[in-house]
């Protein structure tokens, strides 16, 4: 990996976030676009790679941290969010990004999502939603629509898909957005905004799988169908309106910010730091730890 040497105040070029590893995604995979958008968003945010931890689960999309110069962790299938929380609590100064697929995030890891949201650490979670399992070659995913035929649903899926946008809004996320690599400036800008948002920020990216995904739901279709929320005059401070729009996930391809809490709640990591600071004066020095177990408290 290239280590970019960064001086304070210096701006970062997108290429400084690009690692020497060449992506092994299928040519045309939507994840290439997501990676480009990330490079640009990170460049705009301007934090140097060594101040960024990029955590993912397992899947094609979860390879993404390796293609950046940030600290990367291609971790455990479905466990990116708890691992990222551990990292953020260990070092709250880090900018912690989390990424993965829809299977990783909403199926095997789905139980972690509501709790990551309500704990509200300052994390940015980017899901590359391709409505299919890519890495394991084309099985049903939790965002696959009812009736979809795959190698594990030859007669068509009997299940309703999850609605990641509506779920995260309902869980109480302070920032929820959607993008597609069919609109690179828009995708870059929602990722940048998500990173800048203080608190848990979720970006659902419609990132087509060219190999196993539905033929009619590729970038070309996105281009034709996407509707900018800003263009529709949506006010991202309006949570209920955001939920109404999010409910159309799977029918409409809205891009942009659904919801941005105008008064972001305090983040867990900030509260941790604050509480530690408050109690620091009372904290026993390490060499006096055994005083805790003395009847007189060592006093």
């Amino acid at each position: 990996m290239t280590t970019a040497v960064h001086q304070a105040g210096q701006t970062m070029e997108p290429r400084e976030f690009k690692s020497d590893l060449k992506p092994i995604w299928c040519p045309g995979c939507g994840d290439f676009g997501v990676l480009q958008a990330l490079y640009r968003a990170l460049s705009a945010v301007g934090r140097p790679p060594h101040e960024i931890a990029f955590v993912s689960g397992i899947g094609c999309s979860s390879r993404i941290p390796g293609y950046t110069t940030a600290y990367g962790f291609n971790s455990v299938h479905g466990r990116a969010l708890p691992i990222a929380q551990g990292i953020k609590i260990a070092n709250p100064d880090l900018l912690v990004l989390v990424a993965g697929g829809d299977g990783d995030g909403f199926s095997i890891g789905g139980g972690h999502l509501p709790h990551a949201v309500r704990r509200n650490l300052d994390l940015t979670y980017v899901v590359m939603d391709n409505q299919i399992y890519g890495l394991t070659k084309g099985q049903l995913s939790p965002t696959s629509h009812r009736g979809l035929q795959t190698v594990t649903s030859g007669y068509g899926s009997l299940e309703e898909p999850v609605n990641p946008l509506l779920y995260t809004l309902a869980y109480g996320a302070g920032f929820v957005a959607q993008g597609t690599p069919a609109d690179m400036p828009g995708l870059t800008s929602v990722i940048e905004e998500a990173i800048r948002f203080p608190g848990f920020a979720f970006v659902n990216v419609q990132s087509p799988c060219v190999t196993f995904g539905e033929a009619e739901w590729q970038l070309k279709a996105h281009k034709a169908q996407m509707k900018s929320l800003a263009g529709l005059g949506h006010d991202p401070a309006d949570r209920l309106k955001a939920m109404a729009l999010a409910a159309q996930y799977g029918e409409e391809l809205y891009t942009g910010v659904f919801y941005r809490n105008p008064n972001p709640a305090p983040t867990y990591d900030a509260l941790v730091v604050e509480r530690q600071a408050e109690l620091r004066d009372q904290a026993l020095p390490r060499e006096r730890i055994l005083d805790l177990f003395r009847k007189d408290g060592g006093r």
Partner: protein, 456 residues
């Protein structure tokens, strides 16, 4: 112990001398102690029960679970005998003759899936993971056409618990998984062993630890044989070595699972799962009956209970004893092994799964070189087939374990020898890791006295 009207007895090695019982007793039967208990370094109370009214207040006051016990607790320690007999008779399986068909040429996971179908399994719950997924995909394709059902669960945790539910109803269910997924299933397996729910788990082992890779390894032997979740658990562990055995042993697994009311693990390796081979079909298939104990959801089975919770210590101990007796029955009756050129061997190679095939090649090469080599292949890894091994262990015999793990199979051998009270013969091994299998030449050279491979 709370809620019992009885005179107390004191456990001086547990009493911490807190004095709560002293305050609780209206008859001043309990006094602060004066002697330090040497086992605890604490000062237990003393009892003088002349005026004791057996009110039991001291028993309730004691915060330690065993500080004060009700007198005659031996009686209370009897199991409550909650174990229910099955509500109705078993409906036995029936066997249906199959016409003679030409052998199929299929990959290992397919052979296993076909075996499950022929064993009457119509329910599959799983989560995709390489290199096991193709077997699941075949089940997904076929089950809907066979009046069965396939579910892609949200995770292996969900899948195994779906099997808990389905098996509890007395039905046959299957999953395919691979090592990381098997790790996630261990909790569920512990519950199923505890509740005595049958199911068949095919683990196509891959390289570990962690995400590792998708090459073949045998490093889940310890999990399957020694680590099926928490508690005193065991399951029969079958280790196929050929595509044919992927079918045959999966069929057998269902038989055993229902015979013993216990999950059965089929441990294959990644190579075996992918490898294509010729498979002769059996001449019968199984039409499953319905076990009497099933919580099947009809009037007759209504009194049944499937559960792994036993709140009373005595009940749980009795339950453990019954499970242990069952494990002993399995250990006596279900050992299986294949011997190849073993009868006169001076060197016995011990291997299972794909490494056993490579070891077989090595036996032939060694025989050609004038070495009397043989192969001992455990087909059940648990119970270890010690009865078949015992007669081969004459003085002068050497055993070389060939495996794709860090001695997990050799450990099973060592444990089996130790339990059987047999002094181990000289042991050596050939081990490879990370998706690499021991090669035939490597085995031959090791037997001929070559050095062990290691990190320099």
């Amino acid at each position: 112990m709370a809620n019992r009207k009885a005179r107390p007895t004191l456990s001086p090695e547990i009493c911490k001398g807190c004095g709560r019982c002293i305050d609780a007793c209206a008859h001043h039967c309990i006094a602060a102690g004066t002697h330090v208990n040497p086992a605890t370094g604490l000062v237990p109370v003393t009892l003088d029960l002349e005026r004791c009214s057996a009110c039991g207040l001291c028993l309730e006051a004691c915060p330690e679970p065993y500080g004060l016990l009700p007198e005659g607790d031996e009686a209370a320690a009897e199991p409550t005998g909650q174990k229910r007999p099955p509500a109705v008779e078993d409906q036995p399986d029936t066997r249906v003759a199959l016409p003679a068909l030409r052998p199929l040429v299929v990959k290992g996971t397919y052979a296993s899936a076909i075996g499950a179908l022929l064993a009457g399994c119509r329910h599959f719950f799983g989560y995709p993971i390489t290199p096991s997924t193709e077997g699941a995909e075949l089940m997904a394709k076929l089950l809907p056409e066979l009046d069965g059902h396939f579910v892609q669960a949200v995770s292996e945790v969900a899948a195994i618990n779906m099997m808990y539910g389905c098996g509890g109803a007395g039905l046959r269910s299957l999953t395919f998984t691979s090592s990381p997924g098997f790790s996630l299933m261990l909790e569920g397996l512990s519950y199923m062993v505890g509740a005595e729910v049958p199911a068949v788990v095919v683990n196509v082992m891959r390289g570990g630890p962690g995400l590792g890779n998708i090459g073949p390894e045998q490093s889940d032997v310890k999990l399957a044989c020694r680590g099926l979740g928490h508690g005193n658990t065991h399951a029969i562990v079958l280790a196929p070595a050929t595509t044919q055995e992927m079918l045959d042993l999966t069929m057998l697994a269902f038989d055993l699972a229902f015979r013993y009311r216990n999950p059965v693990v089929v441990l294959a390796d990644g190579y075996l799962g992918q490898m294509t081979g010729k498979v002769t079909l059996p001449d019968e298939l199984v039409r499953p009956g319905l076990p009497g104990w099933a919580v099947h959801g009809d009037r007759e089975h209504r009194p049944n209970l499937v559960s792994s919770i036993q709140l009373s210590e005595a009940d749980l101990e009795a339950h453990n004893l019954r499970l242990i007796a069952k494990y002993e029955r399995m250990a006596r009756s279900e050992q299986r092994a294949e011997l190849y050129e073993a009868a006169d061997a001076d060197v016995l190679l011990l291997a299972c799964n794909t490494p056993a095939r490579l070891a077989k090649g090595a036996v032939r090469a060694l025989r050609e070189a004038g070495v009397r080599a043989g192969l001992f292949r455990p087909v059940t890894l648990w119970p270890f087939p010690i009865d078949a091994l015992r007669p081969l262990l004459r003085p002068g015999l050497r055993v070389v374990t060939v495996e794709a793990s860090h001695g997990q199979i050799e450990d099973e051998l060592r444990l089996a020898l130790s339990h059987a009270g047999i002094a181990p013969p000289p042991l050596a091994h050939v081990r490879r890791y990370g998706g690499v299998l021991p090669k035939e030449e490597e085995i031959v050279s090791r037997v001929l006295g070559g050095p062990e491979r290691g990190v320099a």
